[in-house]
């Protein structure tokens, strides 16, 4: 009978986050909703105007979100039917950050502010949805745009974050069946003027790729029979990138797999090929150029000059609005390559290693969470030496490790104050000693062993024989399994630092001293999340070391992460970005980067997010206390 409300409910039930709610709840929203009509060209919200009192959901038509920066108009987004707007200004109570103009005759449903706030308080799925969409806007767009006014003016990498793969990828993809003779494949490449061919299996699924380089190296140089099928020389599995991804995603993949061609997938189909050449054409200095420079160097001096560009690179990436996790991925990739190159120089200097070894990164480097150049945290594992050769082998690896330490120092990586470096004889050991260390820490978890296990258990192979690292990981996960007492100690540590929120939800800051009125977001925010997630990973025998990758893997395995995983990811991204912004500003001003942030310098929005983050941490800590209550001191 009441058809009007039914239509509204039906519409709301088709758009997130309302689609997650029960019909009665949606009904209670619908009766508070009003419907507005905006002819094309109407300004619905105005930049720096009054805050939005409604969440607007577009029923029909479309809008454009844009900002005026000086006299320039920057388009932020277009939204259409089913999308919403006004949320950021509504939730923060700040003046509107952008203009919203109807680009078509537009009808919107308007949901009053109090209804939305009430929903967010009552339904976590609603809060998560808005937090998520808001974080995306915040991280990807608004931040990029706000910072573009600041000090650095380089636009080099901007392109990497604004250009999609699709825009520059070659659409001309030619594929051949896997049994095509090499001669025929080469002829097709020549005729079409292309440098790569996609290889399909009998079911028409792309299984590999061959490039000019493969023909040179695997055919001509190896004097291979040109009648052999392409299958024999193809590279596989085939690495792909989505057409809608930004170019920097393609770069990260090329860096990671050390390849120059990626298959572009559009709507599940082959959409093109993108090469490093395409990307280099697009921009000048970039992560790719830095990596290429590193690869080309033949001496430490060359690497030193290249590695100096990292701060600028971080600045650029921040400026372009990259997510914290993407920035750290690129930095990790570059730093890893610096270490690998230096290790190669060391092998050249001291001769081939007498036994297989593996250079491992620890702590934040092991978790791929470095921002700026941080202290060295590393160690070395080598195969168990045959009887009688222990001393000479030990001597080789210690000299080797000292060389690497000194070289990293020259590149601007300060030594670890706690001397947790491979150059320290204690941390340059054969596999069996490492196993002994690990079991000692786990079986007698007190004092130093807990703090050491926190650093060492995030170990990650950087260079050498990765199977050593794998064996040690197997050993660790087997040993730690069901070690309730040890896990209890870790839980104790993870709940030690309570989030700094006062009774009235104010931030509790340092009362005096150098960091008066500030709070340490590493100790109070980042570390608890890292520690909680590490504990869960050890509980479940997860091999990943980076916090975000751990969360992703744990989502299917750990109840708490299943429930809170998305929230934790956003909280972690937010804290990392906040820290990175802060540290970048310090570095630019010639200061030593630290983790002390004055909450009063944050925007209302950032304050709100920070409070939400601390609440989340507090909730997780309560869950830990509940689970480990017998062991919590």
């Amino acid at each position: 009978m009441v058809k009007i409300i039914e239509d509204t409910i039906e519409f709301l039930k088709s758009v997130p986050p309302f689609e997650f709610l029960d019909t009665e709840v949606v009904n209670s929203i619908a009766v508070k909703t009003s419907m507005e009509y905006y002819p094309k060209g109407t300004h619905i919200l105005i930049q720096d105007g009054s805050p939005s009192e409604f969440l607007y959901i577009i029923k029909k038509g479309g809008i454009k979100v844009y900002r005026k920066v000086d006299t320039e108009e920057v388009t932020i987004d277009f939204r259409s039917e089913g999308d919403s707007f006004g949320f950021v200004s509504l939730i923060s109570g700040d003046k509107s950050r952008a203009n919203v103009v109807a680009i078509d005759d537009t009808i919107c449903y308007l949901i009053p502010k109090d209804v939305i706030l009430n929903l967010m308080n009552r339904y976590p799925e609603v809060r998560d949805f808005y937090l998520k969409s808001f974080m995306n806007i915040y991280i990807d767009k608004k931040y990029a745009e706000e910072t573009s006014k600041k000090t650095l003016t380089a636009t080099v990498d901007k392109i990497l974050f604004t250009t999609t793969v699709e825009e520059i990828a070659s659409k001309n993809v030619i594929s051949v069946p896997e049994h095509t003779p090499l001669r025929e494949a080469a002829r097709i490449m020549c005729e079409n003027g292309i440098s790569s061919l996609v290889i399909m299996n009998s079911e028409g699924i792309p299984v590999g790729i061959i490039t000019d380089k493969d023909l040179r190296r695997k055919v001509v140089a190896a004097a291979r029979d040109v009648n052999e099928p392409v299958k024999n020389i193809m590279s596989f599995p085939i690495i792909s990138v989505d057409a809608k991804d930004y170019c920097f995603e393609a770069i990260v993949r090329m860096l990671k797999y050390n390849i120059h061609h990626l298959l572009v997938i559009k709507n599940g189909q082959i959409g093109g090929i993108i090469t490093n050449h395409d990307i280099m054409m697009l921009q000048g200095l970039s992560p790719v150029t830095i990596v290429r420079d590193i690869e080309m160097q033949q001496s430490i001096e060359g690497i030193i000059s290249t590695s100096k560009q990292i701060t600028n690179l971080v600045g650029n990436l921040l400026q372009q609005g990259a997510k914290a996790s993407n920035i750290t991925r690129i930095i990790t990739e570059i730093n890893d390559r610096i270490v690998r190159k230096i290790a190669q120089f060391a092998e050249r200097e001291f001769g081939p290693p007498p036994l297989p070894y593996c250079w491992i990164a620890l702590g934040s480097e092991g978790r791929k969470e470095q921002t700026f150049k941080t202290d060295q945290d590393n160690a070395l594992i080598y195969s168990d030496p045959p009887a009688g050769q222990e001393e000479s082998i030990r001597k080789y690896f210690l000299e080797f490790a000292s060389y690497i330490k000194d070289s990293l120092l020259k590149c601007g990586f300060p030594p670890c104050p706690g001397d947790i470096m491979a150059s320290n004889p204690r941390w340059c050991q054969p596999l069996k000693v490492w196993k002994k260390y690990f079991s000692q820490w786990i079986y007698t978890p007190k004092g130093e062993s807990i703090s050491l296990s926190n650093i060492f258990f995030d170990f990650r192979a950087i260079y050498g024989d990765f199977s050593l690292e794998e064996s040690l990981r197997d050993y660790l996960l087997n040993t730690v399994k069901d070690q309730k007492i040890f896990l209890g100690y870790l839980a104790n540590l993870a709940v030690k630092n309570k989030p700094p929120l006062g009774f009235f939800k104010t931030f509790v800051v340092e009362k005096s001293g150098e960091h008066k009125d500030k709070l340490n977001i590493k100790i109070k925010g980042i570390a608890p999340i890292v520690e909680i997630i590490r504990l869960f990973s050890l509980e479940k025998g997860i091999r990943e070391t980076s916090t975000l990758e751990r969360i992703e893997t744990l989502k299917n395995k750990h109840g708490v992460v299943k429930d809170y995983g998305e929230e934790i990811i956003y909280a972690f991204e937010f804290l990392m970005l906040l820290r990175m912004k802060h540290q970048y500003e310090q570095v630019v001003q010639g200061m030593m980067p630290d983790n002390f942030i004055n909450p009063e310098t944050l925007s209302n929005l950032e304050k709100k997010l920070l409070k939400d983050t601390f609440h989340l941490i507090s909730k997780l800590q309560d869950i830990l206390i509940e689970r480990y209550k017998l062991m919590i001191i």
Binding site: K3, I4, V31, S34
Partner: protein, 229 residues
């Protein structure tokens, strides 16, 4: 109480009030026919607006037991059968509810004088009260806008709510339910207010001058031609 002793209702002064601040109730009735002597109200629908904002939850819809015979052909139009109407409550309490729903708002409707005439008669008969609401007629304003050249001249042939709605880009889904008709009329009113805004007409007094349902017949524009703002 006899209506003669009742103080004449204070008519609110709309001179300086903007359309945006004014509360409107868009009203539509379903009738057994158009003969005031013979026919009767069988449903009342209403939806509130503030300015041009339609309040989706502030709606009124009641079906009423008719006090006389319902013609067969109108059953086909309303899809309300006599037996269904038998189930419906008496008109008097519904009219009270209606009055309390529309209180202090300006009534809006398509050819609203017909609805008001039936309501007035019913209220007088069953409640012994007079009903003299402030009202604007969307159809009168629509014609006025055509006459002023703000809507295309060929729109002059549109008479039914459905045709008017379609001409303004509104999809009239299922007509002939008093509430749905009121909702469609509300959307027509939304567009009309916007068009008036384009020629700097913002006050409710001006709106009522243009849209006064008593100023002209609905099918002709003779009186309106003389009407100058």
């Amino acid at each position: 109480m006899l209506s003669i002793f009742r103080k004449k209702k204070k008519i609110p002064e709309y001179k300086g009030i903007s359309i945006a601040e004014t509360e409107f109730t868009v009203v539509d009735t379903e009738l057994t026919g158009l003969n005031e002597l013979r026919d009767t109200i069988i449903a009342i629908g209403g939806i509130k607006m503030k300015g041009k904002s339609i309040k989706m939850g502030e709606i009124f819809y009641r079906t009423i037991k008719p006090d006389r015979f319902v013609k067969k052909d109108s059953i086909m139009v309303h899809e309300i059968t006599p037996s269904e109407l038998e189930e419906c409550p008496d008109i008097a309490p519904i009219l009270r509810e209606y009055l309390s729903f529309v209180r202090n708002s300006v009534i809006v409707g398509h050819c609203i004088s017909i609805d008001i005439a039936f309501l007035k008669k019913a209220i007088h008969r069953h409640l012994k009260e007079s009903y003299e609401p402030m009202a604007v007629d969307t159809f009168v304003i629509y014609k006025w806008l055509i006459h002023k050249g703000l809507l295309p001249e060929n729109f002059i042939n549109n008479k039914s709510l459905k045709d008017v709605a379609i001409s303004l880009g509104i999809e009239p889904k299922e007509l002939h339910d008093a509430l749905v008709d009121a909702f469609i009329t509300a959307q027509v009113f939304q567009k009309i207010i916007t068009l008036l805004g384009d020629i700097k007409i913002y006050t409710t007094q001006e709106l009522m001058d243009i849209g006064n349902p008593n100023i002209s017949g609905y099918m002709g524009v003779e009186k309106k031609q003389a009407f100058q703002l």
